[in-house]
Amino acid sequence: MRLGVDVGGTFTDLVALHDDGRIDVRKVATTPEDPAVGLFRAVDGYRSSVVGGPVPVEALIHGTTIATNALLERRGARIALVTTAGFEDLLWLRRQDRADLYDLSRHHPPPLLTRDHVVGVHERMGPDGVLVELTDAEVKRVVAAVQTLRPDAVAIACLFAFRHPEHERRLAAALRAALLDVQVAASCEVLPVFREYERTSTTTAEAYLRPKVSAYVARAEAAARQRGIESLRIMTSSGGTMPPQAAAIHAAALALSGPAGGVVGARLAGEAVGLTDLLTLDMGGTSADASLILGGGALAEGAGVVGGVPLALPAVLIETVSAGGGSIAWIDTGGALKVGPRSAGAVPGPASYGRGGTEPTVTDACLVLGWLDPGQPLADDVRLDLEAARRSLAALGMTIAALGMTRLRNERAIATGIVAVATAVMARALKRVSVARGVDPRRMALLPFGGAGPLFGCALAEALGMRVVVVPPHPGALSALGLAAAAERVEAVASLHRQLEAVTAAEIEAGFAPLVERVRSELPGGLVRQQADCRFVGQGYEVPVAVLSAEPAIVAQVFRAAHRTRFGFASDEAPIELVNLRVVAERGGGTPVLRRPAAPSTGQRPGGGGGRREVVVRGETVVAEVWPLDDLPPGVTIAGPAILAGGDATALVEPGWLATAHVSGAVVIERR
């Protein structure tokens, strides 16, 4: 049995994935002061509830927001940056583009340290090696200068260290020797690739996060050991997992740990029903995240930004828009109905939560339309107050009327409008993630998850011309499922900046060799894959291609094919260059095929669902069958309109769509 535990803002979700493909789900409240408390509360609670005593846990895989929150709230370590003299301002110069095209007073979020914590070093590497020697006296001076700053951690990032790391290594060794309790992160270790701004920024983030992250994972590991769980692993931004010792020195690689779990879970759910090209949408309380899975693989790309800090480490592709359940609906000065970006969050929450919120949200609209059942409490024992939702919508209706706009007849019409606008916002994000990668959404299936995502599946698919929607098992806990299923993964990268026609197969092999050795020692028995980041000469970004043969002509061929798939063209004459070599090792990805238990726990209802109720779909009031999402008998087909109500999520099957329950617990909804 493998356990996945995802710590979110409100809930900590646990999914137990059994060897026969069965799934159990538990939810506990998140403990923000120390997320590990909630983590182990979920683990202990689940294990003690298992009939027949605690089952051995093969692995406990954890998705954490500890790095994300430290960046967003700027609550990391006090750090110093050591960098080449003459370039101390790099983090403030960024890439010289401004924060907003039209808001001229907007500043970029500040770097993670103040300018007086930067120490310039008299040294300089160029493309071909040393330009200015680093003297021993200078090393001494730098160490002393850093010591007077009394940092918790130090980042070192010098020009061209990705190719010539000698100066950085000497500085790191001297600093580590002199500052015993201080973590030191050098750019040649963290991210040895070119582009000095992104490398420096990433290295700074690593130093900033490392003390907090390493303490947290050490605590979590000790707690796991106490419980006899030997294999704790942490989810990284790229959708792979790391043991605690590795996570402690790859703190910046955890920045998107949370969303990565969801994308891995989506991949698994898609695989279970035989679909490998998916657009995914995670609709949460404040926002919706769109992502893309192609050929059964989640897209991992670099150059993400978290809390205004560029991180050039591999991360799953995420496009976030402000359309969540708590997003607030309002009217602009020109009379258009808007949804977001303001959100009611969990507190005060939507008007229907009865916690003091009065502004109408997407959740309130769904309730008024009959999509959610006021009789069924939410996971945190919130009972939805239909009257409060109606009142909030009526108030918005008054504002609309006061502006002299065409009157929306009643609360249902306003609610219909709110979900239509939220759908339009999310459809646009899904279009962006697909079109930007040369993918036509019409050939894909849509996999909506999160508590509210499956309510919008059919409407989004229709807006994008898609014909298939996959509702995964336990849509509200899909991230935890992804964690439980995720493979161990280590990655090594090195810069090899050469034109393909000027490099030999032997040189490429020699470049890969130390990387392969490193990942083999870090992850014995792992499946090793070699990749090269290539581009046409003159291009500013790279396409990763699999390297099965180091023969440059074959690499070129594979690159052209990959480029053509992604961008629709590839020149046969234009010269190609290698930029980086990457080696990835993965272990333990062979997860069981998801399978619902043979006998549904709440009894079969072959003739229909758990009753009927009136719902409003696109302005029309229709009578929908209500079925239990978490207990659908495999093979049963349900024609829309229907509501599939689960413990942590609800799906809407719109008229004209047909849902089929799959043996995996997923529901496949197809256009009729």
């Binding site: 003459g86 370039f87 101390e88 301002d89 790099l90 403030w92 110069l93 890439r95 010289q96 583009d97 401004r98 924060a99 907003d100 095209l101 039209y102 808001d103 001229l104 007073s105 500043h107 970029h108 160029g126 330009l131 020009l159 061209f160 070119f194 582009r195 000095e196 701004y197 602009d332 000065t333 020109g334 009379g335 258009a336 109905l337 808007k338 609309i400 706009m405 065409t406 929306l408 409008g417 709110i418 239509a420 606008v421 339009a424 916002v425 459809a427 646009r428 279009k431 962006r432 990668r437 900046h497 046409f536 291009q539 500013g540 992604r566 961008f567 629709g568 063209f569 020149s571 234009a574």
Partner: protein, 516 residues
């Protein structure tokens, strides 16, 4: 009014999504770095009457400047399904490197709208590689002039025969063509879902909506007779100042900028067709609006731009224009902001007001190939505003392109960057300080030519509401000052240092008040 509050927003997203998709197709299919990385391009959708429904503008200099292109194509009697190419600044274009494709969207043999894609091509022929020569007196020396013509295989052959990098141009134009097609497909799909009359009505309502919101924002200001004058520092032919004068009246929700008093068109190539001037004014208006006002033809209805025929900012054929787009457009926004500040509007002080265009080029020595050119622009200080200090080291105004990493410059070119830093203290003092400029120091490692096209080297970015001016920029060759626009031969070891201007400060420094 026919669309309700919901329809407005849903259709706004639908139209914006089509323009966005066109832009993405272009950026991902284009070959040249200028389009792919610097994103010097934009895409827009127009209705059958030639009014803009939605635009994906990646840099402000293209903002709302494509209506002229559609008008020029309509004047040629475009038939449904035709695709036109143009770059003539005097019939729908801006400057010659901006090649614009206008597709007429066919629906049942009628024109349903126009799909327009503009991109800056890194060469369109003319006397100098890059087609952005300094100090040129004639449009014809800047490159091949293309009036609105149907885009056929013959026209493509003619065009490619006149440019230095035909393969790259062919690739970029194919990408533009694909983006135009995507726009047409998108509009047809939308019509398929909602019906032609509904889509037409939605477009009209959306423009009305944007106009309403623009006018509502402008109603907050009722100021007449705000005027200002500012100067270009030479036209590349002579070093003499060239005046830009503006009078702005904001009345009854209309923004009127009149450039009477502006110098006549210059001998050099810093002139602008009125389309460029209009974009620059529109940029200023856009900064006064709420960020979610959709960008369409409705915004422009609330903006009037007039200028005497034949003046610098409303030049007539065949005045040369290459630098008008990059530098004069900056000064136009500066001048308009200055006018607004004089009327007490809450606008920022002037920013660096230049893109600091730096070009290096050489011939095959030291293993760098048969010939090479390298072009970059540098950020500087933004002006401070009533709400806070100006950002430092950023592009201001009509540009927003990213820098080239030092490690890339040094790996690919015979150049070494000796220093890259903020120019501390260059922002003007004030209650809020202006943003600081940038210092970038290059050392030549081989013999080469360096060309500078810069501004604000003698007229400082002005402070506002009592704030001090920012420091003007400086160009230094081995420590010796150079003029704003010049070309120099460099020998190995020569050091070119560019110090970009700081932004103006805003408001009296508070310490003064404390002392009294």
């Amino acid at each position: 009014m026919t669309l309700d509050a919901v329809g407005l927003e849903v259709m706004a997203h639908a139209f914006a999504s089509i323009a966005e998709e066109m832009g993405l197709v272009l950026i991902h299919a284009a070959l040249s770095p200028n389009i792919r990385e610097r994103r010097d391009c934009s895409a827009a959708l127009f209705d059958a009457e030639g009014q803009m429904i939605a635009q994906a503008a990646h840099i402000p200099v293209h903002l709302g400047a494509m209506a002229e292109a559609v008008a020029a194509v309509r004047a040629e009697g475009a038939a449904p399904g035709d695709v036109f190419l143009l770059n003539d600044p005097y019939t729908g274009g801006t400057h010659l490197p901006d090649l614009t494709l206008v597709g007429t969207i066919a629906l049942d043999r009628q024109v349903a709208g126009y799909s327009v894609v503009r991109a800056h091509h890194s060469d369109v022929g003319g006397m100098q590689p890059g087609s952005m020569p300094a100090g040129v007196r004639e449009l014809f020396a800047e490159g091949l002039v293309v009036p609105p013509v149907r885009w056929t295989a013959e026209v493509e052959r003619l065009l490619l025969a006149n440019v230095r990098t035909p393969a790259m141009r062919r690739g970029d134009l194919a990408a533009q063509r694909a983006a135009v097609e995507r726009g047409a497909e998108g509009l047809r799909a939308l019509i398929g879902r909602h019906g032609w009359p509904q889509v037409q009505r939605a477009a009209r309502d959306l423009m009305d909506h944007a106009e309403r919101r623009t006018r509502a924002a402008l109603q907050r200001f009722r100021v007449a007779g705000m005027s200002a004058t500012d100067w270009m520092e030479g036209d590349g032919v002579t070093d003499a100042d060239v005046a830009i004068a503006v009078r702005v009246d904001i009345q009854d929700g209309t923004f009127h900028a009149d450039f009477t008093g502006t110098a006549p068109a210059a001998a050099g190539n810093i002139n602008c067709p009125l389309a460029v001037t209009r974009s620059a004014v529109l940029f200023v208006v856009r900064t006064l609006l709420e960020p979610d006002v959709p960008m369409n033809g409705g915004v422009q209805r609330a903006v009037r731009v007039t200028a005497p025929e034949g003046c610098l900012v409303n030049a007539r054929w065949p005045a040369a224009v290459a630098a008008g787009n990059v530098e004069t457009s900056q000064r136009i926004t500066d001048t308009v902001f200055l006018a607004l500040a004089s009327g007490g509007l809450p606008v920022p002080a002037q920013g660096q007001g230049t893109m600091n265009n730096v070009t290096f080029g050489g011939v095959g020595s030291g293993g760098w190939g048969a010939g090479w050119t390298y072009y970059e622009t540098l950020g500087g200080g933004q002006g401070a505003g009533p709400t806070g200090p100006g950002p430092s080291g950023v592009h201001v105004g009509m540009s927003n392109t990213r820098n080239t990493p030092i490690e890339v410059v040094e790996m690919e070119l015979p150049l070494r960057v000796r220093r890259y830093a903020l120019r501390e203290g260059s922002g003007g003092a004030g209650k809020w300080a202006g943003g600081d400029g940038v210092i970038r120091e290059y050392e030549a490692l081989a013999a080469m030519e360096a060309a500078l096209l810069t501004e604000r080297r003698r007229h400082a970015p002005r402070g506002a509401a009592g704030g001090s001016d920012g420091s003007p920029g400086r160009n230094l060759l081995d420590g010796e000052p150079l003029v704003a626009k010049t070309s120099r031969a460099l020998e190995p070891g020569d050091v070119l240092r560019i110090e970009t201007p700081g932004g103006g400060g805003w408001g009296e420094p508070e310490s003064k008040g404390d002392r009294s």
